[in-house]
Symmetry: C2
Subunit: 341 residues, 2 copies
DNA sequence: TTGAAAGCGCTAACAA
DNA sequence: TTGTTAGCGCTTTCAA
């Protein structure tokens, strides 16, 4: 049986309440006594009993807010599942988890939600942000009020959030390059289609891909990086132009959306399955293309973890006072073929 | 706030004790009353409070035994980490988790450990078994005593274990075939080196690989499946023989151990990195070879999950009465290149 | 077949 | 500054 507050109280010749004050730095206690009690507790190997604490604190409102985009993509569904699992676990231990779904992640909307939560007496916030100066300032102001913030999927760099849970985008690009290098014949040409130049994650993936592929396969010619603004039509046009221009185009890497447009163009040109397509994100559509052989490899993220961990990190911080181990919690880079979906 | 037993009791006009008896099928209750109470509870959306239950049950000894091989491989280390995480979670809720490490998994040793645990009043057992008739009988006898058993990593087929947590070996073989198909040139020759013919997992991987590769790449010639008995020397000899015999040998798939022998042979023949090697298991050595480009792809298992889930499945069964959702809990087939280790 | 009550480890309000 | 006590939701024993 584990050591209890009562046992420590007896060993120290004081009351439970005093031990509680010592162990939780609640003040109203003689510092020397507190020190002595903590020493005894340590010697006895005291570990607070979660069930007891949870029970005693139930009714009190340790509230964690989560701001998330509703978009019904399978990725977001999985993120949501992770959030819900964490919510269940945390609520079983007496916490409250409020999930605020908003239709789009404009900085204004997110900030508005944050203010709502702050007014509602929220103790910690997890959010999937956009990189925006005002948002950064809001997060910093939360930190000043000792409301911890965890970002997930997308980070707000150099903000006071206590942790970011998401993918190492640069490494994801490198991994894609490694796969492309495996399947490209000698001297082939490769096209990169990105989303937005301004998007940090797109940029990192592109950089990782280009750097790694140039380094590992000098024989391969990487054509210009094109931007399709997550638009299938534009992506399709780019692909079509390029295959016409370069009849020996052998591979296309997409850092973001636009896969459908690309696949349709290739189909039209009779090159479907011939030009090697590697893409990101485990969307339903991408998975379908993967199954059909139109995409060779799909790089994914651990969506569940991106939902689960932020809530749990906040819970551990608020409930047990435990800080996250690192500022960045990178989720695994998942490689999918049609065989391990 | 969540619904409590007390609230249900009030709603039903009975006492807490009666509600408890109804909800947990403890008997000593009028069946009709019980039914009525359960209905009310369901309507009110009752969810038992874990903290309360844990607290009330603390002191009682819900004990879970885990039998595991000590072998200090990184895989087993991760399995152990998973076990330890589950142990911590379960013990926070008042359970006891006993981990019995044994140096080898001979059926006798495992059975002896099981008997020890059984005598010690263990309430559930997780083990990583060998497929053995006597062991199967032991597991079945445990089931008769209502001691649930979960197998992990390796299964005891057709035994009374309530769940198996591990890999779908056949699918793992198929996934390897898919990768081989991606990187093999037209008309190449592929060699399969397996471990033991009698090993179920080796057999399934081989079957999955051969079936899938023959189906998807009719141009590829799959040479005989050779058995190396997890011996590097034998595996090396096989590889050497084969590259001498077939100068156009393009790929080798290893279902089990022997990678080092194969890589050395290829090195000697000046074919290192040229003959495409795909192998299983994320051992330190394999990872090194992967980094060095001697292995193209490594197929892995979710080791952490294989340790974590068995304990949690038993805990949920014993603590909440919740049975595992399925008889087989397949862990993900992980594809690793040097970029996503 | 049912109700009443003690107690699990902890927190927090109140009393001293 | 310290002690005492009620109570969180549940299980379990004893009494009715």
């Amino acid at each position: 049986m584990a050591v209890t507050l009562q046992q420590i109280a007896e060993a120290a010749g004081v009351s439970r309440g005093t031990v509680d004050r010592a162990m939780n730095n609640r003040g109203r206690i003689n510092p020397e006594v507190a020190e002595r009690i903590r020493l005894i507790a340590k010697k006895m190997g005291y570990q607070p009993n979660r069930a007891g604490r949870a029970l005693a604190m139930s009714g009190r409102s340790l509230t964690i807010g989560v701001i998330i985009q509703v978009a019904g993509t399978p990725f977001m569904e999985k993120v949501l599942e992770g959030i819900l699992q964490a919510k269940e676990e945390a609520e079983r231990l007496g916490a409250n988890v409020l999930i605020r779904k908003i239709p789009d992640m404009s900085a204004e909307k997110v900030i508005a939600e944050i203010e709502e939560l702050r007014k509602g007496g929220c103790d910690g916030i997890a959010l999937m942000p956009v990189d925006d100066r005002r948002l950064r300032e809001t997060v910093d102001s939360l930190a000043e009020e000792h409301i911890p913030v965890v970002t997930f999927n997308t980070d707000i760099e150099d903000s006071a959030r206590i942790c970011f849970v998401g993918q190492d985008a640069m490494q994801s690009g490198r991994a894609a390059a490694g796969l492309m290098a495996e399947i490209m014949p000698f001297g082939g040409k490769v096209l990169v289609i990105s989303g937005y130049l301004s998007n940090h994650s797109n940029k990192s993936r592109t950089k990782g891909f280009v750097e790694e592929l140039s380094a590992s396969r000098e024989d391969i010619d990487i054509l210009d990086v094109q931007y399709a603004f997550d638009d299938d039509r534009i992506a399709g046009m780019i692909a079509e132009e390029m295959v016409k221009e370069y009849s020996d185009l052998g591979g296309i890497y997409l850092t973001a959306s636009g896969v459908e447009g690309v696949c349709e163009s290739l189909e039209r040109c009779g090159l479907s399955g011939k030009v090697r397509v590697i893409s990101n994100d485990l969307t339903d559509q991408n998975i379908r293309f993967l199954k059909e052989g139109k995409i060779r490899f799909l790089l994914g993220q651990d969506a569940h973890k991106q939902g689960y961990e932020p809530v749990m990190l906040l819970f551990n911080k608020l409930f047990d006072g435990k800080d996250p181990e690192k500022e960045f919690m990178y989720t695994e880079i998942v490689i999918k073929t049609k065989y391990n979906l």
